[in-house]
């Protein structure tokens, strides 16, 4: 099926999907007037408070860092409040995309081809493919599966992962009879990382599809939602990107469960609020979204930024830029408010969260280049600015506290001034700040208590209330620690230290005390020094800054507590609707993951190199790998060099080789075939202990080698051949 011509955005008047101009303008005017009024009020109160003894440089500095911080607080506050108002408004939102669907659409065949793409980089193979299976089966239930093709686009440079991905692809296709519907592609050189991976897909296969749904390695989406999103795109040709709200799921640690609870409770209101003022100029978050491919291919290829990393070079956070480019091309980028059907996983510990934030921080800081670029829609420019501010606000907050300390330490400073008007301004500002921080949560929680939007039973609503109190306390403790780390990230990036591309850990892996102490020891020390200084300044100041200091002092125990799997679930705390009643797509995946987890384990050294062992010993996996390599030529390396590595590989085992050496032999067709026979034909004394053990254990451990990667029970083996 070839895609029909997509209407161009140069049409007179907005195309369906793009909110009417007057609506968008009115909404933004309302939102930004409220935000600016709040910011001006706060700034004025601070100015009154500080101006008691004239203006000094530290007071000017404090004012400068205060303004953007207070703007950010106001933006969050009004987004949440508008969101709650929209959720409770009796009439439908006139620009709601769901309303474009009619009852007749239910069950009607789709008229477009859709590619579901899953870019992966050294991810947990079982999780990726079991997730894909669940989505595939969910789509099958909708009766629209024939319109969807799945592409796992691998950039994995860990040889074990690479082989496991190939095996998982083969086995899943075999089990589901999905040859010709699920595809696997591995790039030899991961040029331009994830965005390069997606661009490569677009160049090779993009023309065959009208839409692509982008997944992250940990994404999960229900078939019903994906079909609905496709229908919405079909009905609204002005839509370029439709982003869903991915809910966090499957967390096991306290931090993960806290985040997924907070997201479930507060997320929908914030989403509604963001949707209100962003309208057709929303952001793309890189996954769990559907994209119109033709304009994406035409307009959204990313050029490198000037200068070198970390500020320049390849664009890391490509999603915001792609959204801006799509909008620049005249297509709307919209959020689709949804509470079910779109899921992702989050980091299990504070350290994993910080590692992720480090990457995001660099990506967002790079957008500084784009703030002043030509031709953006003003809202796209603002989105970039908000992205930069989300990380720059940490050093601003840090400087705010430093300036406050300096002011408190200076005799006759504003903080100590007790004149009536100045003291009143100070108190008003304090209360205003408290309201801006906590009122949104209070309003959302009250809304939940009254409406039972999340939970119907009263007991669960009360548990949600207690959980909300606890999460507010824990997040308040976390915030200063995050501020310190984010400030360091920003500074490091400014000083020219980039980040490496590392895969994300998404599952709990136990508490690593040493790593935690080494990571957070410095924060504790900072807390101790700052406490001593504050103590000597005045008791009043110590009391004022104590919430920050307590957080810094407790960083290590807090990180340990947050990484723990003692997450309060048995007390009914931090529950989410997905935990109580897992949606089919999630329940199915979790059952399969549990089956694979419960399999017989091989010795650890073999488990570590399982993929490598399989490609060398298993005749089918070896055949598969060679078949997938067959179109490639590998002429850069000499035969003698490859033979020499292969000899060491057999005699000393995989651990004796460097990753690039393993990569060299596994990329060469001839060597891979020869390794298979050479290993099997070598006498015991010619083999490394690893191979002796592997040959003996391989057949014993699994009568079917694929139990290692994918669930087997309950999945009928369809021995369906590959399609012609």
């Amino acid at each position: 099926m070839s895609p029909p011509a997509v209407p161009t955005a140069s049409h007179h008047g907005p195309l369906p999907g793009m909110p009417p101009r007057n609506v968008a303008r009115m909404r933004r005017a309302t939102f930004f007037v409220l935000v600016l009024l709040g910011t001006i009020l706060g700034t004025w109160l601070l100015a009154v408070f500080l101006s008691g003894n004239g203006w000094r440089w530290s007071e000017i500095g404090l004012m400068l860092v205060f303004v953007p911080l207070f703007y950010q607080l106001n933006a969050g506050f009004w987004t949440a409040l508008i969101g709650v108002w929209l959720q409770n408004r009796p009439m439908d939102d006139p620009i709601d995309l769901w309303s474009t669907l009619t009852p007749e659409d239910d069950g009607a065949p789709l008229t477009a081809n859709i590619a579901i793409i899953i870019p992966v980089y050294n991810e947990d193979v079982t999780r990726v493919w079991e997730g894909l299976r669940s989505c595939y089966l969910s789509l099958e239930k909708t009766g629209q599966l024939q319109h969807f093709d799945f592409f796992v686009l691998s950039d994995s440079d860990d040889t074990n992962r690479w082989i496991e991905e190939e095996v998982a692809w083969l086995e899943l296709c075999r089990q589901l009879g999905a040859f010709g519907r699920i595809f696997y592609r591995k790039r030899r050189k991961p040029i331009n990382r994830k965005s390069g991976n997606v661009s490569d897909f677009c160049r090779r296969w993009g023309k065959r599809f009208r839409y692509m749904i982008v997944f992250d390695a940990d994404s999960l989406m229900s078939g019903a939602l994906m079909v609905a999103m496709t229908r919405i795109m079909e009905k609204n040709p002005g839509l370029g990107i439709l982003q869903t709200f991915p809910k966090q799921i499957a967390s096991e640690t306290l931090l993960g469960r806290l985040m997924q609870f907070a997201q479930a409770l507060y997320g929908p209101a914030f989403m509604a609020g963001i949707n209100y003022w962003q309208g057709g100029e929303s952001n793309f978050w890189g996954h769990n979204a559907i994209i119109r491919l033709e304009p994406f291919i035409q307009h959204c290829a990313l050029p490198p930024l000037p200068a070198t990393v970390p500020f320049g070079g390849h664009i890391l956070s490509h999603d915001f830029v792609e959204a801006a480019l799509m909008r620049k091309a005249g297509y709307a980028v919209r959020l689709l408010p949804s509470t079910r059907g779109s899921y992702e996983e989050g980091p299990p510990s504070l350290i994993d969260m910080l590692k992720r934030d480090r990457r995001w921080c660099q990506g967002n800081m790079q957008h500084f280049w784009l703030l002043f670029a030509k031709g953006w829609h003003p809202m796209s420019r603002l989105n970039f600015a908000h992205g930069v501010l989300s990380y720059v606000s940490s050093p601003l907050w840090f400087f705010f506290l430093v300036f406050s300390t300096i002011l408190a330490a200076t005799p006759g400073s504003g903080i100590r001034d007790q004149r009536e008007q100045i003291a009143l301004a100070g108190q008003l500002l304090l209360w205003l700040t408290v309201i801006l921080i906590f009122l949104p949560k209070v309003v959302i929680l009250t809304d939940e208590m009254l409406t039972g939007r999340l939970f119907k039973p009263l007991r669960l609503r009360l548990l949600a209330f207690i959980s909300s109190m606890l999460d507010t306390f824990i997040f308040s403790l976390m915030a200063p620690v995050m501020m310190w780390f984010h400030s360091r990230f920003v500074m490091k990036i400014i000083l020219g230290q980039g980040v490496r591309w590392v895969n994300q850990r998404r599952k709990a892996g136990g508490v690593d005390w040493q790593e935690i102490i080494l990571t957070f020891g410095g924060v504790t020390l900072l807390g101790v020094i700052w406490s001593v200084i504050a103590f000597f300044i005045s008791h009043q100041f110590l009391l004022w800054i104590s919430p920050i200091l307590v957080s810094l002092l407790l960083a290590i125990p807090m990180a340990i507590l947050l990484s723990s799997t003692q997450s309060g679930r048995r007390f009914g705390l931090f529950l989410t609707p997905e935990e109580l009643e897992p949606p089919t797509v999630l329940g199915e995946m979790e059952n399969n993951l549990a089956e694979v987890k419960g399999r017989l384990q091989l010795p650890p050294e073999i488990e570590k190199s399982y993929g490598l062992m399989q490609v060398c010993l298993d005749p089918y996996v070896n055949g598969l790998h060679v078949s997938l390599l067959r179109r490639r030529r590998y002429t850069e390396l000499s035969r003698e060099y490859l033979d020499e590595i292969a000899r060491r590989f057999i005699k000393q085992g995989p651990q004796a080789l460097k990753p690039r050496e393993i990569n060299a032999i596994i990329n060469d067709t001839e060597t891979v075939i020869h390794l298979h026979y050479r290993l099997w034909s070598s006498a015991e004394n010619e083999l490394a202990p690893f191979w002796s053990l592997a040959i003996k254990q391989y057949n014993i451990a699994a009568t079917n080698p694929f139990t290692h990667l994918l669930a087997q029970k309950g999945h009928q083996m369809l021995e369906m051949p590959m399609e012609k």
Binding site: D149, L170, R174, F179, G180, F183, S199, C202, R203, R204, W205, G206, K207, R208, I297, H299, A301, L302, P303, P304, L305, P306, W369, L370, F372, A373, K374, G375, L617, D618, P619, Y620, N622, G623, L624, H625, V626, S627, R630, T669, E670, I673, Y677, W680, S681, S682, A683, E684, I695, K696, Y698, N699, T703, N704, M717, E719, P721, M722, E723, K724
Partner: protein
């Protein structure tokens, strides 16, 4: 398929070496997921006999080495016969051929005919042939060329002035304001 004949008396090599070759061949055929033990034993003996002949001609190599080499030769002949009408290189024949047996469900459906050159059932051969035919959508290459993003600060200024140019009253008001401010400052200085 010939009847099982357990006679095996190699003229060269030690008992220990042949035992090792037997154990290795057993593991090797198990890795093909051949769960039928009788067929596995048949194959091991058949291969060992061929290996014994080869070892007699070249005793410098170990029996295990000969045994696996013979298994490979048997496999290549068997696959060559099944895929004879398909244009495949030796490497493709070995790799894709093996995979074809797995994908067609051969280990469960036709274990007795694995490496049986004489009587491969046509149904099995056809299933194996279909299984190795290419998969995947044909590529339809399209261009996705990055366009330069003009990042200059001057452009923003230009943009602003361009936009400003569309509103003459605002432009004149700004100009007037500037003049008033300059005049006011001069007045303050002179006062």
């Amino acid at each position: 398929m010939e009847a099982l004949n357990i006679q095996f008396a190699p003229g060269t090599g030690t008992e220990q070496e042949w035992n090792e070759a037997y154990a290795r061949l057993s593991d090797y055929f198990r890795s093909y997921r051949l769960h039928n033990r009788i067929r596995r034993t048949q194959l091991i003996l058949e291969t060992l006999r061929k290996a014994a002949d080869a070892h007699a001609k070249d005793p410098s190599r170990k029996p295990t080495d000969h045994a696996i080499e013979q298994a490979r030769l048997m496999l290549c002949h068997w696959l060559g016969r099944i895929y004879k009408d398909m244009q495949m290189t030796p490497a493709q024949l070995e790799a894709s051929g093996r995979l074809g047996f797995h994908l067609s469900g051969g280990p469960d459906k036709w274990p007795h005919f694995f490496l049986d050159e004489q009587n491969p059932p046509e149904e099995m051969a056809e299933a194996m042939r279909i299984a190795v035919r290419t998969s995947g959508p044909r590529m339809q290459v399209s261009k996705m060329t990055p366009r330069d993003i003009d990042l200059g600060l001057t452009n923003v200024a230009e943009d602003t002035f361009d936009r400003f140019g569309k509103y003459p009253y605002a432009r004149y008001a700004l100009l007037l304001l500037l003049v008033v401010l300059v005049l006011g400052y001069v007045y303050k200085l002179l006062k």
